[in-house]
Symmetry: C2
Subunit: 408 residues, 2 copies
């Protein structure tokens, strides 16, 4: 199979994760694209080596060194050499995006940058492709995970900004020098890129008004709770009339129904509004090595082949006959002692353990409601049949699955 | 400019919305693709006309008639004639997807179907393109807006299933014959398509276990509230070990932190989990003529040209100097009568009206906290300067923007 050679610039958190991910997913990428992806070389800021050499040995350049220089120069040289390029560099695009996009167009190569905004949350692709036919009215975004984590901590614990920042640093959600995150400049760069795509207007980071969260006090969050509001650092890109727009980043309160109100911790999220689509919201981890590397890899695959068709179904997973689920169980029971003991005995006999129980009502209204820990559905079904046959159970049991908050 | 001729099958809710949307967005599509899109003809189930004629006059076929026949035959004939095709037909793809995808691949044409699952929520594109490099572990989805509206109503009002269904029908969220929605079959078709893409395994709708919401009782929702849970109709596609999967649709309880727990009313949402990406969630309107038509149009544009580059910035929107915002205002004030009156007088003088007020604390702790209605930021800033100068205001006022729940 023909090779597709990927030259990598940068070997920090995202770069190293990308270098690990590419070989792990190579077999799948071969099935999708018909090409075998290989890492042709890695150039780091400090590591020496020749960029011209790397160019000659590559079909595509992935830029993950960050900053303006030499990233800009490297990307321009790759584009002029006719290579597709993928970058996650928000500062570069918010300063020199038009130059790079113009150059890519005139050389007929792809410049992809999903990882530059909100990590693996597919904001860029959705704005550029899914919504290519929509007239976008407004975008709201939580596009900085550090500040969202800090505000979530302040709301949860009542602590001061400085304490929440220290906790974020301890957990790796904030850097040793957190100023670009907490003062809003990082979010401003991302909103400049979003506004460029949403409104087809050149937007430079210096045109974005921004404000950080350093001056948010614990009692702002306390009053907010009384008023029923949540506090986030919100980027806004908004069309005003026919020929104006506003792009800004500010701390802002959200009413509980707002789709961004429930986005907590280091997550990012973006809501896009237009007359045709009403609104769509996307959310997920806004940073992290493996997550951002996944966004970069999605871009690389798209650059390898226009995704013109659904790949053949090369897997043959079997449909499982019996799976593990957690259940809620609702029983109408006799109002007498020992009912819970009988039901619990049956459950224990099938290996079903109880997470929580509510007993309610008297006489005909007596109810036993339980949440059970995950168990094979066949075991649960057997327990249900036994429970339904108990004389103290007065009507058919009702069971509903429970989905727990769990990450892979 | 060269024309790109779109032949339309079907003129129901989505078809009619698409026929309206295409000419409205034609100028933008020309800028992106370099081609001028025109509607070459419309064929309806009842309207007569020749499909062969339409094929000859078209570069792409949009299928929005629904059902298995004649949709399957039309799409196969279009593909064999070398035309790209776009469809929103979930029943067809969940029955005959492999046949259609194989045929499209072997003829080198695109078969796109974003509108078939969750309307304008970009589930299909994200699974196929953004996450092409990820090994997906699990997908959870609220993929039927009718049932989500009914469950939201039952939770909100305590009413019975039949009453909530009647309300859904009154508002146009449920059809006269709602059985495919409420019994889970519509969601099952969508989960079959999602599982096919997530696991690269052929999935037929008959392999999806499904259950509806007809038997959900008001007290299930009441007990759920006591247990801190929310109830949704959840589709699950899950990888089990290395060679098995499970695809199902069931009513299920969600813990409040789950990203789908806050998806209410007729909205759809899908959460995708994998080791590399942690999880991403997408949400938005799952149906509706203009919304689904937007998804179809995004597919048509992608089929017109591989989105290889960021289009030139053809707009030149100005950055607005002064915009309208709502504010929260936090004042440390003297603990004496008349403070609110003085502040309200200043606000009124600048045309700022008050939405809600909380007065708290005594002595040095006296605070006046307000939420204000939207106003030009320059007027608000002028009011802030006057308020800061009031002798009864003892420290610099703190203001934070408030984002209201409002749709375009």
């Amino acid at each position: 199979m023909a090779q597709f050679r990927v030259g990598l610039l940068g070997h920090g958190t995202v770069g190293a994760a990308f270098a690990q991910l590419l070989p792990r997913r190579a077999a799948r990428i071969e099935r999708i694209t018909g090409l075998s992806p290989v890492l042709s070389g890695v150039l780091t800021r400090s590591g020496g080596g020749s960029f011209d050499d790397l160019l000659e040995r590559s079909d595509l350049i992935v830029e993950l060194i960050g900053g303006l220089d030499p990233a800009r120069d490297y990307l321009l040289r790759a584009i002029r050499a006719g290579l597709h390029v993928v970058t996650a560099n928000k500062q570069l695009l918010s300063h020199h995006g038009e130059e790079l996009w113009d150059e890519a167009r005139s050389h007929g190569v792809q410049l992809r940058f999903e990882g530059a905004v909100a990590g693996v949350v597919p904001v860029i692709r959705v704005l550029q492709e899914s919504l290519a036919g929509a007239r976008i009215q407004r975008v709201h975004g939580i596009v900085n995970g550090t500040t969202n984590f800090i505000l979530t901590e302040m709301a949860r614990t009542g602590c001061a900004f400085s304490e929440a920042l220290a906790e974020a640093q301890r957990l790796g959600y904030a850097e040793a020098d957190p100023s670009e995150d907490v003062d809003g400049r990082d979010a401003a760069a991302k909103m400049a890129i979003i506004a460029r795509l949403a409104f087809e207007t050149p937007v430079h980071i210096d045109q974005v008004r921004y404000e950080g969260i350093e001056r948010i006090a614990p009692d702002d969050l306390e009053y907010a709770r009384e008023l029923g509001l949540g506090l986030k650092l919100i980027g806004t890109a908004e069309r005003i009339g026919d020929d104006r727009m506003s792009v800004s980043v500010h701390p802002a309160f959200l009413y509980p129904g707002h789709p961004l109100a429930s986005v907590n911790g280091p997550f990012n999220a973006v809501t896009v509004e237009s007359e045709e689509i009403t609104e769509i919201t996307m959310s997920g981890p806004g940073a992290g090595g493996p997550q951002t590397a996944s966004a970069v890899l999605g871009d690389v695959i798209s650059a390898m082949i226009p995704p013109a068709s659904t790949p053949p179904a090369t897997e043959r997973l079997q449909v499982a006959g019996d799976i593990v689920s957690a259940f809620y169980l609702h029983l109408e029971v006799a109002d007498q002692p020992g009912v819970l003991a009988q039901v619990a005995h049956v459950l224990a006999g099938q290996g079903v353990s109880v997470k929580s129980v509510v007993q309610k009502g008297l006489g005909d209204q007596a109810r036993l409601v339980m949440v059970l820990h995950p168990v094979l559905e066949s075991r649960f079904a057997a327990a249900m049949r036994e429970i339904a046959a108990l004389p103290v159970v007065r009507a058919a049991p009702r069971a509903i699955r429970v989905i727990e908050e769990e990450f892979v």
